[in-house]
């Protein structure tokens, strides 16, 4: 008959020690201390991580908003032209807050006047049938024109700021949202 070694060792141990379930006071204090230290460490790391993650969250949110606006500005402004005289800054309180431009639809008697502009934390694009009078000789400072129709708008982003700078064959713009400042320019491909 074969020997069951496991049973024997178990009995030996049982005979040698008398086991009581639960913690002694010293054990409890030690466990409490270690747990507290661990917990505090975890909480510190956690709050650190939360802070950093929150920063990343804010940054990504800002970048997300900026990317979306960047896409709109690039797609819209590249169509401006072909006459540089029909690409004009729109000013409010001395700041350039938008660009009014003509989109020439080739081989077609219908052209479109569009304006991309920034108002109350949102970007708008309106359109209307082109008329030379949409581009007066004087400074343009009206955000909306009679007969225009909003073709696109973003949601409102409180704190969003956009400014434009019209250069030779390009428009530079700056998008400031939260603490993220984005500079970019769009090449006016359609200008001749």
């Amino acid at each position: 008959m074969a020997c069951d070694c496991t049973t024997i060792i178990s009995e030996v141990i049982h005979l040698t020690y008398k086991v009581k379930y639960g913690f002694s006071l010293a054990e409890a204090i030690m466990v409490l201390a270690i747990s507290s230290i661990s917990l505090i460490a975890i909480m510190l790391l956690y709050s650190l991580s939360i802070r950093e993650t929150e920063k990343v969250r804010i940054k990504t949110e800002e970048l997300g908003v900026i990317s979306r606006i960047d896409l709109v500005l690039q797609k819209e402004l590249m169509k401006a032209g072909p006459e540089s005289t029909y690409v004009r800054p729109v000013k409010q309180s001395g700041n350039v807050v938008g660009i009014r431009y003509k989109v020439d639809i080739p081989l077609n008697h219908h052209d479109v006047t569009k304006q991309v502009y920034f108002k109350n934390g949102a970007v708008f694009v309106w359109e209307k049938d082109f008329s030379v009078s949409d581009f007066p000789e004087s400074e343009i400072n009206t955000l909306e024109l009679n007969g225009s129709r909003i073709a696109f708008s973003t949601q409102q982003y409180p704190g969003l700021e956009i400014s434009f700078n019209l250069g030779s064959n390009e428009i530079d713009y700056q998008i400031l949202y939260g603490r993220t400042n984005h500079y970019a320019s769009v090449n006016l491909l359609a200008i001749k």
């Binding site: 917990l39 909480m43 896409l71 797609k75 006459e83 001395g94 569009k114 359609a190």
Partner: protein, 760 residues
């Protein structure tokens, strides 16, 4: 005794809280990151699609340079299909319920053939190299009337991300795409302050210089480039072989100040740059400051561009300097560098930049001028225009002249042999004006059609007015018609047959004959070919006077045309309406429709006004008056009236000019036309004959483009500084930017152009 531990559950609860909040935060960040990634990929797709378009432009330019034509059907890296790819149809579908802009794009797309050219697999692979990680698809469609104008649509996708679509048009760059094109440039003249060129311009050969006046001006004045005293200003891109500054002036009294730099933008002058500099500072929309300084008596010296500028007593304090602190030269060594510098340092004056004309561009443009003769000769040799003589044949034979002609050629008439009443007439063209009586027959035997000088009279007549002029019915009284009379000379002899047989009664006679082409105005609302009626008349009096039908019994002959009228020799045009129409009393030619008048070997002489009918009523009161200083904006009138009239005047071998005698009493002439004087052997100018002999004639207004080998002065100063000749006031027809309403046979340059961009 059982003890319940609270630590473990507390820890577990905390861990659970941490896990949940961390997971949600990470999920949020992840979602936002995907969002950014999506937007960035979309932007990347958009850029890739645009880059692919311009790569195609480069590829087609090579093909165009090799074969002098942009025939997509002959390019073996593209193959045609009748069915558009699904993504293409889907894009069109999405646009159909879109914005105003989309609606108009779709109208334009409809002008393109329903043949879809797709790149072969080799071509796709080559294009794919431009967009690592992206998938590219391309569809190219040729235009229905101008087959060398292509609509290219590109789609770029990346797996899992939204598509981007980019489209644009590629076509030969017509010479009309420049407001001013001077093949040889001008060596001894320059553009001065107050002048501006309102479209793209080209100055080859000697290039051209500019004298620039820098403001300061008020904000309102700065907004408008025509503001007197600043400029010269170039609204469109200037191509210049030898750009040079003739003079840099300051509009006002420049002061001397010491230039300082404020390094940290705290309002404190940190470092002196240059002492006691005469300068002028100018700001572009209040953002950057351009400080020009150190000019000598005739030459500009240097420029500093800075983001901030303050004047502090005798100091000028700059911060955030964007150029070298010691300034950059405005005219660096080479012509190519000068072009770059002018673009960078004079952005207001070169609004769309300045491009250096390279050796390649210069020689290819010169070659293109030389090729014009064979290009237009091709229209004649390949029977793309029907000869006026053939129309006359068909007219007499009451036969059809076919429907595939682009227009009429006045030249190359070859006498033929005719047998009439038993008489063999050798080298006679036809027999007419037969009269009988007293036992004899008298005939005019036409022995030559002399197209040495074709005079074109153009006007707009109602059906009733047509009846009054030609005694022809069949034209709707309530409709308007574009009426052209092309006058030339018939030489004839008079023969008589009596009982003794035939005898010649007189020789070397001549009379004026015209081919008349009448096209209903509404025809021009659509693309060519246009239906028209033609017949022949002779004059019964002086000038436009009265006319008789060449043969009352024959009525009219149906024809189609695309507005191309080519003459072997001289063309006289302008100042000549018809008595029953609008223009006759005003020495005015009304142009209704789209036409190209081409002289192969002669001059084109402009007499009096040429005015587009669609804007005539708005400009009527300004005939004989100058437009400068008025509120008449020709482009605005074209736009508001939805005008579709346009005229090309093309002189292949010689000049386009205003003769002295016929114009000496006609002030403030209006020429609404695109001028192309290609010339050969020293010709090729757009000029005013004996301009110095005219008294003060006001302005020569050109509405269109001016393309020539060279330009000559149009006026000078006589005694007491009185102007002799015509001053110039030229307005570029904005429709030419994108080939809108372009007449058929508009000359093409050696370059391709891309225009009409859109994206989704």
């Amino acid at each position: 005794m059982k003890r319940i531990g609270m630590i473990l559950p507390t820890v577990l609860l905390l861990l659970l809280f941490v896990s949940i909040s961390s997971t949600s935060l990470i999920s949020f960040v992840n979602a936002k990151t995907r969002d950014i990634s999506l937007a960035q990929r979309k932007l990347e797709n958009q850029l890739d699609a645009g880059n692919t378009f311009f790569a195609l432009l480069g590829y087609f330019q090579k093909k165009y340079s090799d074969s002098a034509a942009l025939n997509i059907a002959a390019i073996n890296t593209f193959s045609a299909t009748d069915t558009a790819p699904e993504w293409y149809n889907s894009t069109i579908q999405k646009m159909s319920d879109g914005t105003l802009e989309d609606t108009y794009w779709l109208q334009t797309f409809d002008q393109f053939q329903h043949s879809f050219y797709l790149p072969t697999s080799t071509m796709t692979l080559a294009l794919q190299e431009l967009t690592p990680g992206g998938d590219i698809e391309v569809v190219v469609r040729p235009h229905k009337v101008f087959p060398n104008m292509l609509l290219a649509t590109i789609r770029v996708t990346r797996s899992g991300f939204a598509e981007s679509i980019f489209w644009g048009f590629i076509s030969p760059r017509y010479f009309s795409n420049w407001a001013v094109f001077l093949l040889n440039g001008i060596s001894n003249a320059y553009y001065g302050p107050g002048e501006f060129v309102d479209g793209p311009s080209y100055y080859g050969g000697s290039g051209i210089g500019v004298a620039i006046n820098v403001p300061p001006k008020t904000e309102a004045e700065k907004e408008h480039p025509a503001s007197q005293g600043i400029g010269a200003t170039f609204v469109g891109n200037m191509m210049n072989r030898k750009p040079r500054i003739h003079q840099l002036g300051y509009n006002g009294s420049p002061e001397k100040k010491t230039l300082w730099i404020d390094e940290n933008n705290d309002g404190v002058k940190d470092r002196e740059l240059l002492s006691a500099q005469q300068y002028v500072a100018w700001t572009e929309y209040g953002s950057k400051y351009y400080v020009y300084f150190g000019a000598s008596s005739s030459k500009p010296a240097k420029i500093i561009i800075a983001n901030q500028l303050q004047v502090d007593g005798n100091d000028l304090v700059l911060s955030e300097i964007l150029t070298s602190e010691t300034g950059e030269t405005l005219e660096p060594g080479t012509d190519a560098l000068k072009a770059e510098a002018f673009t960078k340092y004079f952005p207001w004056y070169f609004r769309s930049g300045l491009t250096y004309v390279t050796d390649d561009i210069k020689s290819s443009m010169e070659s293109k001028f030389g090729e014009m003769k064979s290009y237009y000769q091709g229209f004649i040799d390949n029977n793309r225009v029907v000869s006026s003589q053939s129309v006359l044949d068909s007219y007499f034979n009451s036969s059809s002249i076919g429907n595939n002609s682009l227009g009429v050629f006045f030249g190359g008439a070859v006498p033929t042999s005719i047998t009439y009443e038993g008489k063999f007439f050798d080298s006679y063209y036809y027999i007419e004006d037969v009269s009988t009586g007293n036992n004899k027959i008298t005939v005019n035997a036409i022995n030559k059609l002399d197209y040495g000088s074709v005079e074109v009279l153009t006007d707009v007549l109602s059906g009733q007015q047509i009846f009054a002029r030609y005694n022809l019915s069949g034209f709707d009284t309530s409709e308007k018609y574009s009426v052209h009379e092309y006058w030339y000379i018939e030489e004839y002899e008079v023969w008589e047959k009596n009982n003794n047989g035939w005898s010649r009664k007189s020789r070397n006679n001549s009379r004026d004959v015209a081919q008349v082409v009448i096209t209903k105005s509404s025809e021009f609302d659509s693309l060519p070919p246009w239906n028209a009626k033609s017949f022949f008349v002779t004059k019964t009096g002086q000038g436009a006077g009265s006319v008789n039908l060449l043969d009352q019994d024959l009525g009219t002959i149906d024809m189609q045309h695309a507005g191309v009228f080519i003459c072997e020799n001289d063309i006289k045009v302008g100042g000549g309406g018809l008595p029953q129409g609008t223009g006759h009393g005003s020495k005015l030619s009304l142009v209704d429709g789209r036409y190209s008048f081409i002289s192969m070997a002669g001059n084109i002489k402009i007499i009096g006004d040429i005015v587009y009918n669609d804007i005539y009523s708005d400009i009527q009161q300004y005939l004989n008056k100058e437009l400068i200083g008025t509120n008449v904006d020709l482009n605005r009138l074209v736009s508001e009236n939805n005008a579709n009239d346009m005229l090309n005047l093309v002189a292949i071998d010689k000049d386009i000019y205003m003769p002295y005698e016929e114009n000496k009493n006609h002030k403030n002439i209006k020429i609404m036309s695109n001028i192309f004087a290609f010339g050969n052997n020293g010709s090729g100018s757009f000029r005013i004959e004996k301009y110095e002999d005219f008294n003060d004639m006001g302005y020569r207004h050109v509405f269109g483009t001016i393309v020539a080998k060279s330009a000559s002065p149009t006026y000078t100063y006589g005694n007491n500084n009185k102007i002799k000749g015509f001053q110039e006031f030229n307005v570029y027809d904005d429709r030419l930017y994108s080939n809108e309403d372009l007449p058929v046979a508009t000359p093409e340059s050696s370059l391709l152009m891309a225009f009409g961009f859109g994206a989704r």
